[in-house]
Symmetry: C2
Subunit: 260 residues, 2 copies
């Protein structure tokens, strides 16, 4: 299988880079082909701006949606974006490895999403508006996995922990960014307390990470509800009979226990 | 009062820029002093990296926490970061205006947070670890407000809408980024369907926005639970008697109706 590993930390001895290197080794040893995007090493341009559109559809007014669609469909994107899309198109799985900064990804990785997730590909797939999204779309058939280095302790991210549960904080990424264009997203792998992690913990963490990597194509994805699977009859709002009474992010995960 | 208005869109006719300009006019007319950070116009450096630390504490290994604390406490930050912090320190309110890209802020604004939210100021306040956070800290006494331009329709962001409720998608920003260092955060102002908004809707939206701005120092903030208010006896996890049985993001908002 082909795997795209995107990571975002400039320090070679960081937990993030350790996770990325371990992934590359384990997956290669399993016979997979690993492609890497080391965003800091590449000097990735984080800011999505007018320079992303060398041949503008409209010179008077910059609409990102319009220009993104024009550039993608016309083959007029910048070479760096085209290269990342080429890697993605050949990938059977995408792994994003990053330190959790302010409960999200670092700006350089957000800028990878902002720029690479083009209109016509990651949204507005095939020019059909929102016909194909959440489980179907330009990245259907691919798996995705986040591996996150978290400074704080696990209890802060527990079901009633003060930060909120990690998987809910990451919902804009797992559900809104990866499942949206069709990827099947695995539960997040997290390393907590990464700022002060000790050698023996690193060994245990590495073992756990290796186990997750070996099951990359076997583990069950998060059961996000697909738009066109029947739970959203109007493509917008959950049907009354689906998870009745449940509101919020959890309602969009199929194994949510309904409120009694 | 002093107000810092940070906005992130390069197109002068965008909804984002319209909201920012309206805010500047209305607040100035009310007698406030408005400072602006037009991130695209400033060419803001989005990527948080080694260049942020001109005088390194440790030349062998780049730890962002260690170097951020060293640079902030020693007055060795870059001039652009120092200037934003200076504006923030004098501000009584912070308004962030941005288009919702992949259910979060554009990379350029995430990079404003990543770089300006220094250790010793926005986290690790006064070198006391997590003693002061969530309601107390370096930005205590300030108000914060998000104004978000959203491409999709409001129903997609409703309590059972397919994207998830907007305020839960923004929780990593409102709770985790703004309330964390002590700001009181107002409910988000959103303009839905911004990609195809019509002239008459713009007029109504502008009126609503003006009303919200005029009540900037009067509206009730989101009642996020402060860390040191008694609800988190160990500073990490909600006490059993607080919102009993509730898990997830909603548990950290004081007016959440408890499960029966």
């Amino acid at each position: 299988m082909n795997i795209l590993l995107v990571h975002a930390h400039p320090e070679s001895t960081s937990v993030t880079r350790h996770l990325a290197e371990t992934a590359s080794e384990v997956l290669t040893a399993q016979g997979h082909h690993v492609m890497q995007s080391d965003l800091y090493g590449m000097g990735w341009k984080a800011v999505f701006d007018g320079q992303d559109f060398p041949k503008r559809a409209n010179h008077d007014r910059l609409s990102f949606i319009e220009e993104s669609g024009h550039a993608f469909s016309g083959g007029n994107q910048t070479p760096d974006v085209e290269e990342e899309q080429r890697k993605l198109q050949t990938a059977d799985a995408l792994i994003l490895v990053f330190p959790l900064w302010w409960f999200s990804m670092p700006a350089i990785m957000k800028g990878w999403i902002d720029r690479v997730w083009a209109f016509g590909l990651a949204y507005g797939y095939q020019g059909a508006g929102n016909t194909w999204r959440y489980g179907e779309g330009g990245f259907a058939g691919k798996r995705a996995l986040l591996a996150v280095s978290v400074g704080g302790p696990e209890k802060d991210y527990s079901p009633r922990g003060i930060n909120g549960p990690l998987e809910q904080l990451l919902f804009p990424i797992t559900h809104g960014t990866l499942f949206f264009p069709g990827m099947q997203v695995l539960p997040t792998f997290a390393v907590y307390g990464s700022a002060n992690i000790e050698t023996d913990q690193i060994a245990e963490t590495t073992d756990n990470w290796k186990n997750r990597l070996e099951r990359l194509f076997d583990d069950e994805p998060i059961p996000f509800r697909p738009q066109n699977g029947g739970d959203y009859p109007d493509r917008h709002v959950l049907a009354d009979h689906v998870a009745p009474g449940v509101t919020g992010l959890a309602a969009h995960i199929a194994n949510t226990v309904p409120r009694d």
